[in-house]
């Protein structure tokens, strides 16, 4: 039981169970109900200043400066989201001194480039202040770059200050470098400032303005800041209505940037990001194989997100995408180096997202599979029904000589406190035990004893049994939980916080769920529904 607590509690740390009353120096960690908003009226829920994630930062810089800063961003300290939390969860976002140091490093590199690369300078700034009318060019590029990086027009005071900074350099190219360095370290760039303006008939709720909505849309769908065209839409008032937002969202979804931007959501949702740090003592588990695993999920997800079909098919698909490495791993007929769509054998236990090597690898922490971790991962990622955190005073079972690992199940079920959760968690993992720690099929453990294969989901009505990933996917897709879990993940990605259905997010979650179902589970319509929700278009008025 002891080690069990280690593993399970680590994993379940992010689940939405009881909220402890904070004690000590940390201010409230749970903003909860806003007393200014009357009970029973729509409440957009809490919102705080959101920092650009590292991925958003990198893409935004690259788009604005036509410059790849990936090598530098790779040196940033890791995002501090907890297991199963998305990386853009704002409650975890801070700027440490080390992070500030890294932002400075990128700023200096960009500044050096702007100062020395004449062509790039002209491209980025729209004119070259180092040749011709310096004052005119500076004024123009401050407006242009300011709008692009701060995602709204520069106010006069900010513009004046940047102008003063520019003038501290004799050389106009160096002046531009200073401006760029200041802009990319500004809180107006690093954070998504949202203030909005009061709505006449609603207490303590602000409507976000067009600029703020453009940013929300852009980071939600593209994982980067808005481009000039989207800012033009904002300026023209096109984002002032939900119809306008829906139209913008639909056209943005047709843009290739949506596939890249939303693939970041998929990567985290289905635990593909864990491949980056996964360690296995298996020689095959090299960088190429890991990359192939990630590509498979991305292609599968793209098909179901953007193909116009039923998104829930991602849980049950009878086909997948493989290259030579994955085909060998899966025991499929040989394939080429480029990915191709293959139909899996009809009796395959593989199929759907849960059968991908990436998911099966991401649900294991080492060379040994774990029914507990797999089970908990499925509950978190596929049905959004995480087990509650353990109650206070869970007994610490001391190890005893002679206790074998095979007794584990008994240990869980013999102890009522443990059993209350583990009878839901463990049997899910059992149904995936035929997959090893890198997602290969196996029939026996290393000592020759047969693997378990009898899965059971107690959290789904009827407590359906299953064997293998495809049957698991079918069970999930057929229940309301699979669809609701998709809605919740898109919500979290859009808002940067976990949903709280009990207190304020029910209208948004339920409304989006209805729209999703009404559109025959077209993922794009789910995105549009979230983008036009009260929680997305508006915010609680800032606290005084």
């Amino acid at each position: 039981m002891v080690a069990l607590r280690f593993v399970v509690f680590c994993l379940l740390a992010a689940c939405n169970g009881t909220v402890s009353e904070p004690v000590g120096p940390v201010d409230s960690v749970d903003p909860g109900i806003d007393p200014r908003i009357p009970a029973g009226v729509p409440d957009p829920g809490p919102m705080e200043l959101r920092r650009l994630t590292h991925y958003e930062y990198e893409r935004t810089i690259e788009a604005a400066f036509q410059t790849d800063v990936g090598d530098l961003v790779a040196t940033f300290p890791a995002e501090s989201a907890r297991p199963f939390e998305l990386s853009n969860t704002y409650a975890r976002q801070t700027i440490s001194t080390l992070q500030a140091d890294r932002y400075l490093a990128v700023a200096r590199a960009l500044g050096a480039t702007i100062a020395t690369d004449t062509t790039l300078r002209s491209d980025v700034l729209g004119c070259d202040p180092a040749s011709g009318d310096r004052a005119g060019c500076v004024s123009a590029y401050l407006d242009r770059l300011g709008r692009r990086l701060y995602r709204r027009p520069l106010d006069a005071e900010t513009k004046a200050r940047l102008g003063e900074l520019e003038a501290t350099e004799m050389d106009a190219a160096e002046g531009a470098a200073r401006v760029v360095e200041a802009m990319v370290q500004s809180p107006r760039f690093l954070f998504r400032v949202e203030i909005g303006s009061p709505i006449t008939d609603r207490a303590a709720v602000h409507a976000l303005d067009g600029w703020e909505r453009a940013s929300r849309l852009s980071f939600f769908l593209w994982s980067e800041g808005p481009d000039d065209a989207l800012l033009d839409r904002a300026q023209a008032g096109e984002l002032d209505t939900s119809e306008g937002i829906a139209a913008a969202a639909r056209s943005m979804l047709d843009d290739p940037r949506a596939r890249e931007g939303l693939s970041a959501l998929v990567t985290e949702w289905f635990l593909v990001d864990r491949l980056a740090t996964a360690r296995r003592a298996v020689p095959e588990f090299d960088a190429d194989l890991r990359a192939a695993m990630a590509t498979e999920v991305r292609m599968l997800a793209e098909e179901y997100m953007f193909g116009g079909g039923d998104f829930l098919g991602i849980y049950t698909s009878d086909h997948t995408y493989v290259n030579d490495r994955l085909a060998a791993l899966y025991g499929l007929p040989a394939a080429g180096a480029t990915f191709e769509r293959v139909v899996l054998p009809a009796d395959s236990v593989r199929g759907g997202i849960a059968g991908t090597a990436a998911f099966l690898t991401g649900t294991v922490r080492s060379d040994e599979t774990s029914s507990i971790i797999r089970g908990a991962s499925v509950l978190h990622a596929l049905v959004c029904d995480p087990p509650a955190p353990p109650p206070p005073g869970v007994p610490m079972l001391m190890p005893e000589e002679g206790r074998s690992l095979a007794d584990l199940e008994d240990a869980h079920t013999a102890n009522e406190v443990c059993a209350s959760c583990h009878r839901s968690i463990d049997p899910i993992g059992h149904g995936l035990e035929m997959f090893d720690a890198i997602g290969r099929l196996r029939t026996t453990y290393s000592d020759g004893s047969p693997v378990r294969e009898d899965g059971l989901i107690r959290g789904i009505e009827g407590e359906p049994a299953f064997r293998g990933a495809r049957e698991l996917g079918a069970v999930v897709a057929a229940s309301d939980l699979g669809s609701a879990c998709a809605v919740k993940h898109v919500f979290r990605w859009a808002l940067g916080r976990p949903e709280d259905v009990a207190r304020y997010d029910a209208p948004t979650i339920d409304g989006a769920g209805d729209s999703f179902a009404g559109a025959e589970n077209d993922f794009r319509e789910l995105v549009v529904a979230i983008a036009t929700s009260d929680a997305f278009m508006n915010r609680r008025a800032p606290l005084p």
Binding site: V106, L162, L165, T168, R279, S366
Partner: protein
């Protein structure tokens, strides 16, 4: 669209340190001998500078069910027989410089969540952790408390560094409960700490002026923006402002004339190879930063709970090793490490490797300068883990090495605190008869160090003020 690629090289050019020499180990000697580092000048190391170093290794040591006598000696005071885990300190000739501290626990501030690892931050923050749907630590950690007082006059208020991962539950925490990220790369640590030292003076001054004017504007921007925002967002920007101020202090301090630039180290591969060189490089750089008086507070974590240790013959990950024999990370079927005896042996090997790094650090700090002084003279040094036995997630039996002659502390002793732990292990039985209050909270350790460092206000207590925190006699002048 053509995309220009910026590499680390570019950034170095941007920072003006192109062509920095790359060297291998041993770094410290290279810095000392080849580079003519002149930190030995009397002026480079203010004699009254109080320093605080915390070293962390993850997942405790094998004790309890698989070896209670591995770490804790069985007699108190000086003249005890060193245990197996202390042998690396004997070998490095530093056993006489350190004290073993036993009998401390953070049972009383383990979280009521019962979370095995979620409560671990308490060992260094002195507060129970809370849960907001994820674990949040309540800070600040002891090193950060010290940094606020003794870190105000150096380039860096504190340095937080580690190997491989962000501390594995051993990292500093800010007062707002956010983890302080660790610098994991020796090369980046070097660039950050010593980078500007390698610039020619006029270039350094130019860069300083430019950075200063840019950061001035950023600070202006933050405070202006704060005026438009709600209270919670103002708080978030306050953190940003604090970071910018600390960054400003670090990058705009005039180039030190006392401390010449050491050579830029090669970076290390982040694989499961022998991490000894990696650990030594990080330790050397931190020791050098302390010698150059660039910081007076440092945190170093050895990290790495999910890695294997092939150079120690351990092919399964450290986490599995700790939990072997009752490893519920496994589910059904035989596991790699069902062999409890073998796993205990693995655990001891990894534990010894950790203790070797502790010994190396103490030795690096002990090395005398030209004036015959040593960093240990005015230092409180604590090496510890977040657990007693990692396999048990035990918040008692915390293995602690305390060093530094701050407050006239002498080494070579086993400082025993009375304990009343239920398990009745060898250490438990031994410490049961020690004098003083039973089951001292680990907060008393930090209280002792921070008191010795004069980093606490009059009558102030470290950590949860509802606990009867006191100093421990014999530690740093207490």
């Amino acid at each position: 669209m053509t995309t220009k690629k910026l590499s680390r090289r570019t950034i170095l050019r941007g920072a003006g340190i192109a062509g920095a020499v790359t060297i291998g180990l041993p770094l410290l000697e290279a810095m000392l001998d080849d580079r003519g580092l002149s930190f030995s000048k009397a002026s480079a190391q203010p004699t009254s500078a109080r320093r605080f170093v915390v070293m962390h290794w993850p997942q405790g040591l094998p004790m309890g069910w698989n070896g209670g006598d591995f770490f804790f000696p069985t007699s108190a005071g000086s003249g005890y027989s060193p245990t197996a885990a202390l042998q690396p300190l004997v070998d490095a000739g530093v056993l006489g410089d350190v004290n073993v501290v036993s009998g401390l626990t953070y049972e009383r501030i383990r979280s009521s969540l019962g979370d095995a690892h979620g409560h671990a931050p308490a060992f260094i923050t002195g507060y129970e952790t809370v849960n907001d749907g994820g674990i949040i630590a309540q800070g600040p950690s002891a090193d950060q408390v010290a940094a606020r007082v003794i870190g105000t006059s150096t380039r860096f208020a504190s340095l937080a560094t580690g190997l491989y991962t962000q501390g594995d539950f051993g990292n500093p925490w800010t007062g707002r409960g956010a983890p302080v990220p660790l610098e994991l790369s020796p090369q980046r640590l070097f660039d950050r700490v010593f980078g500007s030292l390698s610039l020619p003076e006029d270039e350094a001054m130019l860069q300083l002026r430019r950075t200063q004017s840019v950061l001035d504007l950023v600070k202006d921007d933050i405070t202006t923006l704060q005026g438009n925002l709600g209270s919670n967002d103002r708080g978030r920007l306050e953190d940003h402002l604090t970071s910018i101020r600390e960054l400003e202090r670090a990058v705009t301090s005039p180039p030190s004339t006392e401390c010449a630039a050491p050579a830029r180290p090669a970076d290390v591969p982040y694989d499961d190879g022998d991490a000894t060189e990696y650990a030594r490089l990080m330790i050397d750089l931190v020791a050098m930063a302390l010698r150059c008086d660039l910081t007076r507070v440092a945190f170093v974590s050895l990290g790495g709970i999910w890695r294997t240790y092939p150079h120690l013959g351990v092919g399964t990950d450290y986490h599995n090793v700790c939990h072997t024999g009752f490893n519920e990370a496994a589910s059904v079927g035989p596991r790699l490490d069902d062999d409890r005896e073998l796993a205990a042996e693995y655990y001891r090997r990894i534990g010894l490797w950790h203790m070797e790094q502790v010994a190396y650090f103490v030795n690096a700090l002990k090395t005398p300068d030209a004036m015959g002084g040593s960093l240990l003279d005015d230092m409180a040094f604590v090496a510890l883990s977040e657990f007693g036995d990692g396999g048990l997630h035990h918040e008692s039996y915390i293995p602690i090495i305390a060093a530094g002659r701050l407050g006239g502390m002498t080494g070579g002793r086993h400082v025993v605190n009375r304990c009343d732990f239920a398990e009745g292990w060898q250490e438990g039985a031994f410490c049961a008869s020690a004098p003083g209050p039973a089951n001292r909270c680990i907060n008393d350790l930090w209280q002792s160090a921070l008191t010795g460092l004069a980093a606490l206000g009059e009558g102030a207590l470290f950590g949860d003020p509802s606990l009867p925190t006191t100093t421990i006699p014999g530690l740093w002048g207490a």
